[in-house]
């Protein structure tokens, strides 16, 4: 446990732009606090719920730990606990992104599923695709489909992309062997030889031991965001409206790679996620919990008392997302859970932009934020995109962090991107209809 050192207030002398440092793994980091499953667990399938979404699974069915729960179109979830299915329902996330939520009532007599162990002797791309996509750390689906042919590089990220998070650093430091195994398996099954591991300087030794090419990062936010890694490490600029994957580069977290390694070594699908829990007093605890563990179970285990009007953040303070309920489960990519006391929640305001230029000076990709936000506030998304580089934004959130008017700039930006995406989809749907 340690108290947060990162300075989050503006310093007295404000001439230089603030530097937000990534959290560095402690040299004597204690072992993660293990949180055991209790009453129930919940899993989110990234697909909207519909009536006949699964013919294999219904309420009341028993499930085993590590069992694959199959849904329509080859989609699946891995149960991290033993118990019975309590409900299958719809769940709406940010921007009304729809999920199917499967709730499992836990039976304390754990029973492990053996289906995967029969296949795990010889790793193949299909085994990974069919069983391991939702392992802790989450694997990018595209790497194991036809699209993978266009990839020439895999980046294994052992540098955590948001502040306060040390999970991937911990995995690299303490699970070097599993990361190495994972990288070897990835090399073998994808036949992509250019695998680069990105790590903070102090983990260089561990990173070299994995056998991948090592590149080190400095610990200033946002250096570990994919677009910045592309620019600083690979010297490749991702054009606006393109993704890193379009450039042939696939990003995987070190934890996901270690999960692959562990899966084939132990003949079991890993189901335990490592995550940082940041308490109200800003102390940071590393915990390990089953995927699907509700947040309230975690809070109970680390003595966090939730009050009315507190804020729960899934992920880091810059790029995470806040949730409505402490029933929300740990997902395969939940690297951190932060709780902020209602008194220390920073609120946004409806002040207009005063053109102070702080955002311009801090933006890592030179987006003219001061102009952009004026267009976004007026809902002029197309103009914002064409004239003011909306799609160059890498969504690091630094502009909102320094905004003296406390404008929710990043929210405007994500909303604009979301709306433009929706307009485009609507247009192409309409065009399809016309063309029959």
């Amino acid at each position: 446990m340690k108290v947060l050192k990162t300075m989050i207030k503006k310093s007295f002398l404000g001439l230089s732009t603030p530097r937000l440092e990534y959290e560095k793994l402690l040299t004597n980091q204690p072992k993660p606090l293990e949180i055991l499953p209790q009453k129930n667990a919940m899993f989110f399938l990234d697909y909207p719920f519909e009536k006949n979404i699964t013919q294999y699974l219904k309420e009341g069915d028993p499930v085993k730990t590590g069992q694959k729960l199959s849904f329509k179109n080859g989609r699946y979830l891995i149960s991290s606990v033993t118990g019975t299915v309590a409900s299958i329902a719809s769940h709406a996330g940010n921007f009304n992104h729809l999920y199917t939520a499967v709730s499992v009532a836990i039976n304390q007599n754990e029973n492990k599923d053996t289906q995967f162990s029969k296949l795990s002797d010889s790793p193949s791309i299909d085994t990974v695709k069919d069983y391991l996509l939702s392992v802790p750390g989450k694997l990018p689906e595209s790497l194991f489909t036809d699209k993978a042919k266009s990839f020439d590089t895999i980046i294994v990220c052992a540098a955590d992309s948001d502040l306060l998070i040390t999970t991937n650093q911990y995995i690299l430091k303490n699970n070097t062997h599993a990361v190495k195994n994972g990288i070897d398996i990835l090399k073998e099954i994808t036949s992509i030889n250019n695998i680069i591991i990105i790590a903070p300087k102090f983990l260089q030794e561990e990173a070299s031991a994995t056998g991948a090419k090592v590149k080190c990062l400095d610990l200033t936010y946002p250096s570990a965001l994919p677009h910045m890694i592309m620019k600083d490490v690979l010297n490749r600029i991702v054009p606006a409206q393109k993704t890193c994957e379009d450039m042939g580069v696939c990003f995987i977290s070190a934890e996901a790679v270690a999960s692959i390694g562990n899966a084939f070594e132990n003949n079991q699908i890993p189901v335990t996620k490592l995550l940082n829990v940041v308490k109200k007093d800003k102390s940071n605890v590393l915990v390990s919990a089953r995927i699907g563990t509700p947040i309230d179970t975690i809070f109970k285990s680390v003595d966090i008392k939730l009050n009315e009007k507190d804020r729960i953040i899934i992920g880091g303070p810059m790029k995470g997302c806040s949730v409505y309920s402490d029933n929300h489960p740990v997902l395969s990519d939940t690297d951190a859970i932060i709780i902020q006391d209602s008194a220390s929640v920073s609120l946004v305001s409806d002040n207009p932009c005063t053109n102070c230029g702080e955002c311009i000076r801090i933006c890592p990709v030179n987006v003219p934020v001061n102009m952009l936000v004026r267009f976004l506030e007026a809902g002029l998304y197309v103009e914002a995109c064409e004239q003011y580089d909306l799609f160059s934004c890498i969504e690091c959130g630094l502009c909102s962090y320094v905004c003296i008017s406390k404008i929710p700039i990043l929210q405007y930006i994500t909303l604009a991107k979301h709306e433009l995406g929706r307009m485009e989809r609507n247009e192409s749907d309409a065009a399809e209809e016309i063309n029959g």
Binding site: S16, D310, P317, V345, R361, N366, S392, T414
Partner: protein, 319 residues
């Protein structure tokens, strides 16, 4: 679900560096204090009255506008107070109350609120108010006449007016040292050189104003005045004279740096500041007005949106 606690939900990021408009404006007022207090010691109760009237009416105008236009009350961010204070620093201590009230009305309503309030004004509101007064009641800004009844123990002649009307020989009795120490007549808050510079440096160090604008403004004045002086030193005063007289210093640190009407990118800030400086000296040396700062800055405000288009290429920009 009924017993669940209600949580605050919002979009990322969840941290803020804690800066606020209120804090910023308070800092500007703190930085202006040395110059204002010096004005009080020079011009006494008249100056106190002027400053009080300007600040209070500026706040009242903004409040009235908020109420009439049914907007959220915005006087709490202290922007109106800053406009009132800076305005009062630019007028002579003997300015009649009606002129001060009219000035703040123009500054707040016409200079700022009708464009949509803070952040939307294309021109510096203080200078809009001042320019309208200067054009409407020219005599108010004849500092020699306005301060006729004062004797502060130094040459009671407005240096820029002396230069304009009586040529270079009339300013020989002035020294740069006396200007810095505030031994010159002028507006309430614009004569105390060292006080304004200290305030300006404070604002720069706190990151509240952009040093690029102040520095290039002063450099623009220096270089232009130096070139004039070089061409004919019998007609044109030297660069230091121009830097320490009139509204130059307060313009460089408090007026040209107004956020909404100045550029934010590096090169544009330099161009804008230098442009203000060059225009100031041109107006002083060639134009009709005694002091050029007001119109120089307003002119560059006009050019600001265009200049600020010079900006670094965004990463990944596709043509």
């Amino acid at each position: 679900m009924v017993n669940e606690k209600k949580l605050i939900v919002s979009h990322a990021p969840f941290w803020h560096n804690g800066s606020s408009l209120f804090e910023k404006n308070c800092n500007i007022m703190i930085a202006a204090l040395p110059a204002v207090l010096f004005g009080f010691t020079q011009y006494g109760i008249h100056a106190v009255g002027c400053v009080s009237i300007c600040i209070s009416t500026a706040i009242i105008w903004e409040l009235l506008f908020n109420l009439i236009s049914k907007q959220q009350i915005s006087v709490g961010d202290c922007d109106a107070a800053v406009i009132g204070l800076l305005f009062s620093m630019l007028i002579p201590a003997t300015t009649p109350w009606w002129a001060a009230v009219t000035g703040t009305f123009v500054a707040i309503i016409i200079g700022k609120q009708i464009y949509g309030g803070i952040g939307s004004n294309p021109f510096n509101p203080v200078l809009i108010g001042l320019a309208i007064l200067m054009i409407s009641w020219k005599d108010l800004f004849d500092f020699n006449e306005a301060l006729l009844n004062y004797d502060l123990g130094f040459t009671m002649v407005y240096p820029l007016a002396a230069l304009k009307h009586f040529g270079i020989s009339s300013i020989e009795s002035f020294s740069v040292g006396s200007f810095i120490a505030g031994k010159q007549i002028g507006a309430i808050g614009s004569t105390f050189g060292i006080g304004i510079i200290v305030g300006g440096i404070y604002l720069i160090l706190r990151g509240i104003i952009r040093w690029e604008i102040s520095v290039s403004f002063l450099a623009g004045i220096f270089i232009t005045a130096f070139l004039f002086n070089l061409s004919d030193s019998a007609i044109y005063a030297g660069p230091l004279f121009h830097i320490f007289t009139g509204y130059t210093l307060i313009g460089a640190f408090f007026l040209a740096t107004e956020d909404s009407s100045s550029p934010v990118n590096f090169l544009p800030m330099l161009i804008y500041g230098a442009g203000c400086g060059i225009m100031t000296v041109l107006i002083r040396n060639v134009g009709a007005y005694v002091d050029g700062v007001v119109f120089a800055i307003l002119l560059m405000n006009l050019a600001n949106p265009l200049i600020d288009k010079i900006r670094p290429r965004a990463m990944g920009k596709v043509n």
